[in-house]
Symmetry: D2
Subunit: 364 residues, 4 copies
Amino acid sequence: MRRILMHVGPSVGSYEVLLKSVKEDVGFGSPEFVEAMRSALEGVRYVMGADNSFTPFIIPGSGTSAMEAVTTFLREGDRVLVASNGLFGDRWRSILERYPVKVDYIGSEPGRSISAKSIQEIAESKHYRMSFFTQVETSTGVRAPVPELVKEMKKVSEFVALDGVAAVGGEESCASKWGIDYYVTASQKAIGAPPGAGISTVSGRLMENIPERSVSGYSLDLSNWKRTMESFLDGKGSYFATPPVHVILSLDYALRLAREETMDKRVRRHIASRDQIVEGIEEMGFETVAEPGLRSSTVTGVLTGKISPGDLLAASLRRGVEFAPGVHPALAGRYFRIGHMGWITEKDAAIAVHVLRGALKEVS
Amino acid sequence: MRRILMHVGPSVGSYEVLLKSVKEDVGFGSPEFVEAMRSALEGVRYVMGADNSFTPFIIPGSGTSAMEAVTTFLREGDRVLVASNGLFGDRWRSILERYPVKVDYIGSEPGRSISAKSIQEIAESKHYRMSFFTQVETSTGVRAPVPELVKEMKKVSEFVALDGVAAVGGEESCASKWGIDYYVTASQKAIGAPPGAGISTVSGRLMENIPERSVSGYSLDLSNWKRTMESFLDGKGSYFATPPVHVILSLDYALRLAREETMDKRVRRHIASRDQIVEGIEEMGFETVAEPGLRSSTVTGVLTGKISPGDLLAASLRRGVEFAPGVHPALAGRYFRIGHMGWITEKDAAIAVHVLRGALKEVS
Amino acid sequence: MRRILMHVGPSVGSYEVLLKSVKEDVGFGSPEFVEAMRSALEGVRYVMGADNSFTPFIIPGSGTSAMEAVTTFLREGDRVLVASNGLFGDRWRSILERYPVKVDYIGSEPGRSISAKSIQEIAESKHYRMSFFTQVETSTGVRAPVPELVKEMKKVSEFVALDGVAAVGGEESCASKWGIDYYVTASQKAIGAPPGAGISTVSGRLMENIPERSVSGYSLDLSNWKRTMESFLDGKGSYFATPPVHVILSLDYALRLAREETMDKRVRRHIASRDQIVEGIEEMGFETVAEPGLRSSTVTGVLTGKISPGDLLAASLRRGVEFAPGVHPALAGRYFRIGHMGWITEKDAAIAVHVLRGALKEVS
Amino acid sequence: MRRILMHVGPSVGSYEVLLKSVKEDVGFGSPEFVEAMRSALEGVRYVMGADNSFTPFIIPGSGTSAMEAVTTFLREGDRVLVASNGLFGDRWRSILERYPVKVDYIGSEPGRSISAKSIQEIAESKHYRMSFFTQVETSTGVRAPVPELVKEMKKVSEFVALDGVAAVGGEESCASKWGIDYYVTASQKAIGAPPGAGISTVSGRLMENIPERSVSGYSLDLSNWKRTMESFLDGKGSYFATPPVHVILSLDYALRLAREETMDKRVRRHIASRDQIVEGIEEMGFETVAEPGLRSSTVTGVLTGKISPGDLLAASLRRGVEFAPGVHPALAGRYFRIGHMGWITEKDAAIAVHVLRGALKEVS
């Protein structure tokens, strides 16, 4: 029987999307791929709310690869600010500390978000090359108040980088309007394609500020990929390193579906599914990890009170639905997570609630 | 009509292999994936001729990512030797020069290989942390005389790294027997899976020499992936960054086919196809770029004399076969390349010769 | 977004099953097909509860083709009895009336079943070559009380034919135990494979009674297919007319899954889904067309009272679930049908109830 | 390694076409299917050269089912003429003899065709309701001289039926121009889709002559399917018996490709492949079964002189190509057959010749 994946890593899947990758004898220079890449790059701009002054990148790797490629824009000795809401916010720090830059860090309680005020406090009289934060913290399901944080960061840093890995495709995403300079995501989350591609858009202003000698390595140095992406956008093949051809065939199709659906409807679909799930778990007596105003539309962390989240997960899996365990150390053993992104519908939300209700009955 | 890809990047494809990646609702923690990863890691050891003292790695990215991950084992100030037979040999240098290590470099004429003697000359009284070279130089089709070069490198350097990207799966590959410490390949060449995964095996001796503070970045630092790979080898899920799940489902199947076929037969199959192609092009009055003794069994560079290689490629494409252009600057406009790896058979070789013969007639 | 098909024709689908049909260059004589056919024929026996004295047939066509092939066993002038619970019961009559046999017919009210008593009444002092009836009447969802009807039919006819098209794979099916001589089904209903194959098992006693000159045509004359089926059962290829090769590759896989699941568990799974759906629609104030004791586990006809079934269907389709309209003329405009067979799970049943509830709210 | 099927039953396959059938939750009433059926019916007219006065039919079953459905137009006692070039010509007789019609029969030597003269001779002073013959005799590869035979048949019979099973899609096909009344084919031969659908077009004049009481059975009675086909042509769903939904999704795609390619180019492609193969086998010292003027462009029977055709077939299969054995009893043990239809290209023809040459060397 079909198992349903409501994990937070890969999203609710789609055979239609996966089947687009089944093309033999298509290589990185074949016309089908060149067209898919061109169209996917434009799709990336669309789902990220990035106008044509932004350069889109699709590179081999994971969301983490796309995050690390920000080093393209950093010079030895640069001072940067990391504002973290949890494990994936901390990943910015882990990456940046491998490079010769100076990292300032602020964090928040699980379920809450760093605030404009906390940025004001740490930044006093300091100036940063770049500030880093996370749109949806996958470890808890908290969505940061992006516009007000960007506004504050812009006061204290030249550029702003946002990790939208668990957000883009399911949350409102407005690179241009918000003034994001480096906006990252991955193929396999709310965009709903298979994993294998790191995705970013870079503002025109940041592209003009690629340092002559950055701290970056070789394969994640976007200045190596720049010409390649420009060439694909122009409808011509180009090579720097072999792209994940078949993943991108699926990614292109997923992004076409997103354009067809429109991001407005897509965000509303994710919100409706989230609301249906939150209502369901509250009826069971559970609470969300995220404060009500900070609930993302893609991931819900569920505090299970006296019930063991591990038991609930196991009982749900026996019913054919795979949820994700909690990973935030501060809440160890107290919560689990429901991924509701990508091709999620109210039907899947109905399944999630139905299966959880059965699982709860079993383990209570 | 079906086009056939005899390019050197992606290999002759297989729908059977691609279809294995069509699995909805399989994530990086799902049992199917955990088993595929375990089995693929063992398959990597098999096709690389690496015994159980080697640690296999499959990471998101390209062959270049896997090459760059060698930085896991380098410390600031280390001296290294790059021995290059062409463009992809030069890539080792391009990567290493992004890091704070000292690079010595020797090159060769196109069609020939660096020799044991040339290593003796440059290495005189020097000692290297690691030496780097390339098994099959994709830009020309030259196969290096691996065993004798390793022997010489071992005299002058602690560790030896070999780029087997265009070789592993189609050429004899003996990590253990030859004494390779870092052996790299990618999913999409002679292994015959879709691109998206960087692959390596690391000798036990090198694994024990991971420096406390290496020069590597974050996502290509294999010390971050070590625990993950060990866990998968042990049949348990683990996470550092999201792997290209569906690519690995295909990769696992391709590696299972390789084990079933046995590497002995697989190498003989590649050699037979190469011989059939070489015989065909020689009958047309063409020559291989590689010296007779250095012809790889996976890529053949073809010098076309007075015939324009571009015209031949275009005429072949009209006949439904996509060969690869030449890329070595020293031979610009004088050759093209035939990829014959992965699922190549004598039937494909017959097509290559038939189509080229027709194309030649057309453009002569 | 994925639409879910809970129609009564094709069942809840499975990509896993469909993907098994994607095999290029497999013909009716290829080893993969010969093995699939052998295994599928055995699987047919298994899901029909037919022991080895029965001969299984898989022929190109639909369930109707398999029904019509019963003419293989009829001679000009034979007298037959059709006992019908609705539209698909009537189909037996429509078929038989095209042939030179004498047809007696009894029917029932929609929602109810022909009874043992009604057979006694019509059959008084008559003797039939064969009696025909229907296990699950697709037009209403009524399941006939098979064992007691067979018992009665055996008293008045030499052979008994049962249409199990909407039943086999989801209802208890016991060809041997019940004493069925000709048991029919199709690939696309509760077995859960794509349509294109007519399926039957024939008792040893009936096989021994193939008349020298039957009334049947050519391609539906099972005496033409007999040798072919015996050959496949024996693991050898054979040809009479081209079988639907790829449909059978999927069918074989679906039947393997059935054996793996076991028919016991499979029937219980269908019953659980039916119960969940019936409970749901009763909560909405609806009733089943079938009397409580005659509810099938594969199809539920739903009487919608004052609500228009057409409006409910349209509102459900907008929510992504396709139910089936009612087709029984006596209940025109008063009911619709839910198919819950094949790969149905409690998750799909939860969706059905959830979507119907939303649709009802919309149209009330 | 990929095996290539150059059998005469299923044709050279296409994964692209097969993958179109992978659609879950599409039933006979779903919009995708209704559109595919509409488009496929128009495609059938196109590949058969039938103008809009012809009614196209796509029914569940095989080519034989489509042949047998001609009984829709025959009345008890009708006199018919079968002109056969071999085994598949004889099939018309086998079918018709199951019905209460009077069958006259003429045959030809293997490799040759019935002639206009032989029809004149048998028909002397007789008049037939319908004449039947075969465009390409699959058992030998002989193509009948269709236009001149039709001309002669029209003199002695009201209607003319042509079996184009091994022809349509690869041979010139002109239902309107030639004046065919009943033109049959199947999905899996030169059209290049999977098997499972019987296909026909019926002239307006014949449609107007459906007898009130024909000799046909139920599921192959086209008067039952008429309304269904008309409804689909009109873009609306309709039901008589469940069609092979997924086979038709592939069939529609194959027919779209045919329209895109144009029948002119498609026929030329088949002829070029045939010529390449004939040239190849003649170089090996073999001859075609068919007289030079009667060689079909889809099937070639090869007389192997002193070489055992069975040995050649086995040696070819070991080289990965499956040819078809000979089946004409008059030539038993003296020939084999090469199917070159559907997606055949000069590349496949090159393989056929290459593999046969190797096989011949092995068995000589």
